[in-house]
């Protein structure tokens, strides 16, 4: 496991004021999630965060984060989307933030994701959701924990200082 001091990352990218929507237990069938993505596309709403996973019994869970301002605009139409998707539950969390950690090469350094998750957990940061691929990890956390998370990540990895 590499030393944390040697792991340099790019400046954090933080998107705040978001809403996390969890569409839980959607039947697995082609186009099941289309009503949601069509709605987002029609209103020009970017998907800040997305994960989809198996929920058992031919069901899927879909988690997305969008700007809270956009959520307010879309909210009246969401009930119909929920029905068309045949989702069994829709859970909302807001306000949340997405922190993107880019650079530590999670794939070639065993223990890198453990450094991140462990440091955030020790600081009592709640990670609602996480999406990690080769070089980036995106954490959805409560918006009011962003400053603490920034400090913790700054102590765990080498983050370039912001220019004044």
């Amino acid at each position: 496991m590499g030393s944390a001091e040697t792991l340099e990352i790019y400046p954090l990218k933080i998107q705040r004021g978001l809403t996390q929507l969890s569409f839980l237990r959607i039947p697995t069938r082609p186009g099941a999630t289309r009503p949601l993505f069509d709605l987002l596309e029609r209103h020009g709403v970017p998907v800040r965060f997305l994960i989809e996973g198996c929920a058992g019994d031919y069901n899927r869970d879909l988690i997305v984060c969008i700007d809270s301002e956009a959520f307010t605009r879309l909210e009246p139409e969401l009930k119909e989307v929920e029905i068309r998707m045949q989702t069994q539950a829709l859970e909302l969390r807001q306000p949340v933030a997405v922190i993107r950690i880019l650079g530590p090469h999670f794939d070639i350094r065993p223990g890198t994701s453990s450094l991140l998750f462990g440091a955030l957990q020790r600081a009592d940061i709640t990670i609602f959701s996480n999406a990690t691929t080769i070089t980036s990890s995106m954490c959805v956390i409560p918006d009011d924990q962003v400053e603490t998370a920034e400090r913790v990540i700054g102590r765990t990895f080498e983050v370039p200082k912001k220019k004044k």
């Binding site: 082609p30 999630t33 800040r48 994960i51 031919y58 065993p110 957990q121 709640t126 996480n130 990690t132």
Partner: protein, 173 residues
């Protein structure tokens, strides 16, 4: 015949309208990996960090993570590791099964992560990816996005079919 297969059969018979291709810059695939999906007790603090620490101590590379709370409040943790380290990963977690509170454990020994660039947070890229795969009978085990890429985990047996239908759904340079 499962409900999913019936739906697919009907859609194939009646023919779905062919949407315009979405232009992308590339499709990448990972080396052969193995996926593990763990169901952990939920709550404010879960044992995901402990799972990752155990795997890290056993030199297990983690190339893909999906973590979220499911409908029962459990934490669903999907990990992809190097395929040749699957046994090491399983054995190391097995020892700590009780302390980690692992409630369920599913693994797929040979999977590939397929990534589409760029995603740029466009809803229709993710939608097209998921629909195109399922229309062709490929069910992604797990899907996630980073800022510029959307990635999905598929069984190795389905990779050729997945790549063929994605080449049909997206316009490559």
């Amino acid at each position: 015949m499962s409900e999913q297969s019936k739906t697919l059969e009907i859609m194939r018979r009646i023919g779905a309208p062919r949407p315009e291709k979405i232009r992308i810059s590339g499709i990448l695939q990972s080396p052969v990996l193995a996926s593990l999906t763990l169901l952990l007790p939920g709550g404010v603090s879960d044992s995901a960090a402990a799972v990752l620490e155990i795997l890290g101590k056993h030199d297990v590379n983690i190339r893909f993570i999906n973590k979220y709370k499911d409908s029962a409040g459990n934490t669903s943790l999907c990990l992809c590791v190097d395929a040749d380290l699957l046994d090491t990963a399983i054995n190391s977690l097995d020892v700590h099964e009780e302390s980690l509170g692992i409630r369920d454990f599913v693994y797929h020994p040979q999977v590939i992560v397929i990534s589409i660039y760029p995603h740029k947070q466009r809803p229709r890229v993710a939608e097209r990816l998921l629909t195109a795969l399922r229309m062709n009978g490929v069910d992604p085990l797990s899907t996630n996005n980073a800022s510029s890429v959307v990635s999905c985990v598929v069984n190795r047996d389905s990779v050729e079919q997945a790549l063929a239908c994605l080449a049909d759904a997206f316009e490559l340079p």
